[in-house]
């Protein structure tokens, strides 16, 4: 699932305060944790704060870690909480009702252009990548964090639910809504590219 399998780390050594083992853990996970922070917050300085706070808290709480989830899921949990807390401090758009994103209100796709036939080189240009990032930034935070953990970091539904303290059903609902929002956004963007392509 991740770049590194956390079973490679000795929990016994980590909990005994072995600094070399903790340094190995940091080395294995600083990139994905930074990435989660960056994509959640859209700012490299804030992402670095998330990174440092995550590992400082991990260091502090390791003695109490009970191993009910994997070490990586636990690190993602700390990082996701840090990022969400920073977003709240910034007073960005947070749904008043945290459960609003689990509602059964139908999200009906409105963009129905089939842009899959665009030439392959159109999909991952620098401009396209910026649009992909922008589309993530526009997601409500509660959907964004689920999408990032599941589809970018590759956590399973169960691991995502453990990391966020949500039921698996809630994770699945939020993931579907996130994917639908992103598909809608990308359809607007690539649909225009397709029109431009066809006009040539």
């Amino acid at each position: 699932m991740n770049e590194t399998n956390t079973t490679e780390f000795s929990l016994e050594l980590l909990q005994a305060g072995d600094r070399a083992e903790f340094a190995r853990l940091v080395d294995a996970y600083y990139t994905p944790i930074y990435r989660l922070g960056l994509k959640m917050l859209g700012d490299s300085a804030d992402a670095e704060d998330v990174l440092q706070n995550t590992f400082l808290k991990a260091l502090q709480h390791l003695p109490n870690f009970e191993g009910r989830s994997s070490l990586s899921t636990w690190l993602y949990r700390i990082a996701a909480n840090e990022a969400l807390m920073m977003l709240r401090k910034r007073r960005l758009t947070i749904p008043v009702d945290e459960n609003a994103d689990d509602s059964d209100d139908d999200f009906i796709p409105t963009q129905l252009t089939d842009w899959c036939c665009l030439p392959e080189q159109e999909f991952l240009t620098d401009e396209s990548k910026r649009h992909l990032d922008l589309a993530i930034q526009r997601l409500p935070e509660t959907l964004k964090v689920v999408f990032l953990l599941r589809d970018i970091e590759g956590l399973s539904i169960r691991e995502t639910s453990e990391a966020l303290g949500l039921s698996e059903t809630a994770v699945k609902t939020r993931l579907l809504r996130a994917r639908l929002h992103l598909r809608e956004s990308l359809s607007g963007y690539y649909g225009e590219r397709l029109n431009a392509e066809n006009a040539q």
Binding site: Y34, L56, W115, D151
Partner: protein, 86 residues
């Protein structure tokens, strides 16, 4: 999806499980039958699949800024372990 039929709504609800390979075989067959008949749902499925593919292809491309690892190790008082990576 213009018509918002019951089948279209069911397709949307099952889309994630289908894409993630978690949908039971009989429901997969139902969904595939529906997509053969409903052009809008086929487009939603194909573009959703492509959306996920694009994010999974480039979503991990992030450069950690120069010095961030060193600053992190320093904040954790692990300066003596900073050498291997930076």
């Amino acid at each position: 999806m213009k018509s918002h039929t019951h089948d279209c709504r069911a397709m949307l609800a099952d889309l994630n499980d289908y894409l993630d390979g978690d949908l039971p075989e009989d429901l997969c067959a139902e969904l595939e039958n529906h997509m053969r008949e409903c052009e809008n749902c086929r487009v939603v499925f194909d573009t959703m699949n492509k959306t996920i593919y694009l994010y999974q292809s480039c979503g991990r491309e992030v450069d950690v800024p120069d010095g961030a690892r060193t600053r992190l190790f320093s904040a954790l008082k692990l300066d003596d372990f900073v050498a291997p990576g930076n």
